[in-house]
Amino acid sequence: MPDDDYLIARLPRRWRPVARAVANGDDIQVLTDRVVRALAATLPDIGGIPPINEVADQAHEIAKRQEGELDLGLGYRSLLRPSDTRPQIDIMWNRARALLESRTHQMAEDRDSARLTLAVEAVKALGNHFGFSRVAPALLADPNRDDRDISDRWTRALEHPSIEQLARGLLRHPDGTGLRAPRRTRRSIAQLLETPLEKL
């Protein structure tokens, strides 16, 4: 039963510029830069996601068994949950279960791509957890805002290649130490003029 459900609206300091960018409807590039920077700062702050490689490897083995129909129908249920009670562990483990249930084939392909897939998913989920879902309810309460537009812009920001670079960094530094935001690649005026509008 919903019984004193806890809805967090408080934003971590690193996420305030992101909230402003969402609220102001800033350019998607600005929003993406802020999201990537917030994530890159958050991961060391929270101590990274130390067991991410081990959980990804375990999920990969389970997915392989599922693909080979050798897992006795257990699937995601055989994925062991790390004992760590920090939120990022919970979030990563839930993403691993979700991937096993919805993208089994992709998780079964090879160990490295399973690791990367989980890392990308976990980083995005942290963005939703610390950022978007704390900002969205207040924005959506405004009847003049379009919920689909707000969530589409957010989704586009999380689809940016910098998120994958950040995820690769996380796999190299699972505890977050030394993790940095990928360098921004500024496009020249000439490149911008050549880029179709929908890609901007």
Binding site: I46, P137, D147, R148
Partner: protein, 449 residues
């Protein structure tokens, strides 16, 4: 900035040193089971009394030690407990402590450890000197949880209608007099004195002791009361009346993790509790959730109109029982109020709440935060259900649905998809009750599922 979580030792032993978190039964925390034993004219068996005391101890510790809230990352939401507790059967509890800690960790996100010691006679709150000559457990008795909320009232009404020859033992836990009074009133309107046996435990902390308000162990306390009462009556099952949407309680927004979306009567909670009870009693114990694939509105709609006065007395609001002001109105804005208002509207039973005024009522153009979060969840659910692979999409968007045992097989998945589809449709039909503009929230058109 990873945070080392300190361990809180909470000592319930008589003669525990006064330093630290010492808790004395009858002084710092109170547990009463005498009314239940008198109703049934039976003493609680040793393992039943132990279970109830273990649950009351966990509840006390949960309320004594505050969760950290200053850190916006939420790294200190979880706590670490070590409880020292005297029980009648310490060997038994040591053997099954892993089951107990798994249940508590699932309910609270906290880390729990226990040290059990041998209790001496009269050291424990449920020790009774005088036994009973003749039991008064009615024939065809069955145990049900009765919180005084709308679902438990509707479920009990249906149970009485479907099996008029049976007698429900309506088990409740009252943590304050207002709650006890309301449970008594709803039950007497629903069933009268002769068709249901009220079995009420009392649990409360001393003045000023209950600091933490989240009280995620409350579900365990209620379930333990149900199991202990069933055992005292010689029964091996317990029914819990809760609708499926509320029982599963998927997070409304992604910022909620783990137990921040309450799991009091989640099907997995019931499975873990039944597993613990079966191990402790060395006999199978079943806890059923008969309305798992019904929405709250569907549960209400099943009941006759004559039940409306009893339902009108029921309390759903999160702060409905905690306020000490007589005649206080429900807030109207918490997640529980939102679900009740939606359900009463969707069931076409506005009379239930006709005499009720909410503190936060409809204000044109302004929706309470919990309602916006609920609508955001409904929007996401609808997107999942309209996907080509709705189950994969639902599991991807709400991986918490995988915790429901029904999700482990195809028929269960189909039933869950159908449940959420109907729930989304209810919002399309009845959202206006809460001032929701269906077009603005994309709720037009039937939901797949």
């Amino acid at each position: 900035m990873s945070i080392a979580v300190p361990e809180h030792i909470v000592d319930f032993r008589p003669g525990a040193p006064a330093s630290g978190n010492r808790v004395r039964w009858g002084r710092d925390t109170f547990l009463s089971g005498r009314p239940v034993m008198e109703r049934l004219s039976r003493l609680l068996p040793a393992h039943a009394a132990d279970l109830m005391e273990v649950a009351a101890a966990a509840y006390t510790a949960d309320r004594l030690i505050p969760r950290g809230r200053r850190d916006a990352y939420g790294l200190n939401w979880s706590r670490r407990f070590q409880l020292h507790l005297c029980v009648r059967l310490p060997g038994l509890w040591r053997r099954h402590v892993d089951r107990l800690t798994a249940l508590l960790q699932w309910l609270t996100d906290d880390d729990w450890r226990f040290r059990f010691y041998q209790a001496r006679w009269s050291q424990s709150p449920l020790d009774e000197g005088q036994g009973f000559l003749f039991g008064t457990v009615p024939p065809a008795a069955y145990a049900v949880l009765f919180s005084g909320g709308l679902d438990s009232a509707a479920g009990l009404n249906l149970a009485l209608r479907d099996a008029p020859q049976g007698t429900p033992l309506a088990v409740s836990v009252a943590t304050n007099p207002r709650m006890a009074g309301r449970q008594r009133d709803v039950l007497s309107l629903l069933a009268g004195e002769n068709s249901a046996v009220p079995c009420r435990f009392g649990v409360h902390l001393g003045a000023g002791q209950a600091i933490e308000m989240t009280q995620r162990t409350r579900g365990f306390l209620f379930l333990a009361a149900g199991v202990a009462t069933a055992w005292a009556a010689g029964l091996h099952s317990l029914r819990v009346f809760e609708n499926g949407i509320g029982a599963i309680n998927l997070p409304l927004i992604e910022a909620q993790r783990g137990s921040q979306a309450t799991r009091s009567v989640h099907p997995h909670t019931l499975a873990l509790t039944a597993d613990l009870a079966s191990a402790i009693a060395a006999a199978p114990f079943r806890i059923t959730l008969p309305h798992l694939v019904r929405t709250k509105a569907e549960l209400i709609a099943q009941t006759p109109l004559e039940a409306n006065p009893a339902f009108a007395m029921s309390v759903s609001c999160d702060v409905g029982f905690s306020t000490r002001t007589p005649g206080a109105r429900p807030c109207g804005a918490c997640t529980s109020c939102v679900l009740r208002r939606q359900a009463v509207g969707a069931a076409g039973r506005p009379d239930i709440d006709a005499g009720l005024t909410y503190r936060t009522d409809k204000v044109p153009g302004i929706l309470p935060e919990a309602l916006v979060a609920t609508l955001w969840q409904v929007t996401r659910l609808r997107r999942c259900l309209s996907d080509k692979r709705p189950w994969a999409s639902l599991a991807y968007e709400f991986p918490q649905v995988l915790d429901v045992p029904a999700a482990h097989h195809d028929a269960g998945r189909a039933a869950l998809l159908n449940l959420y589809g109907r729930y989304c449709d209810e919002w399309r039909r009845a959202g206006a009750v809460l001032g929701v503009d269906a077009r603005r929230w994309g709720l037009e058109g039937r939901t797949a599922g």
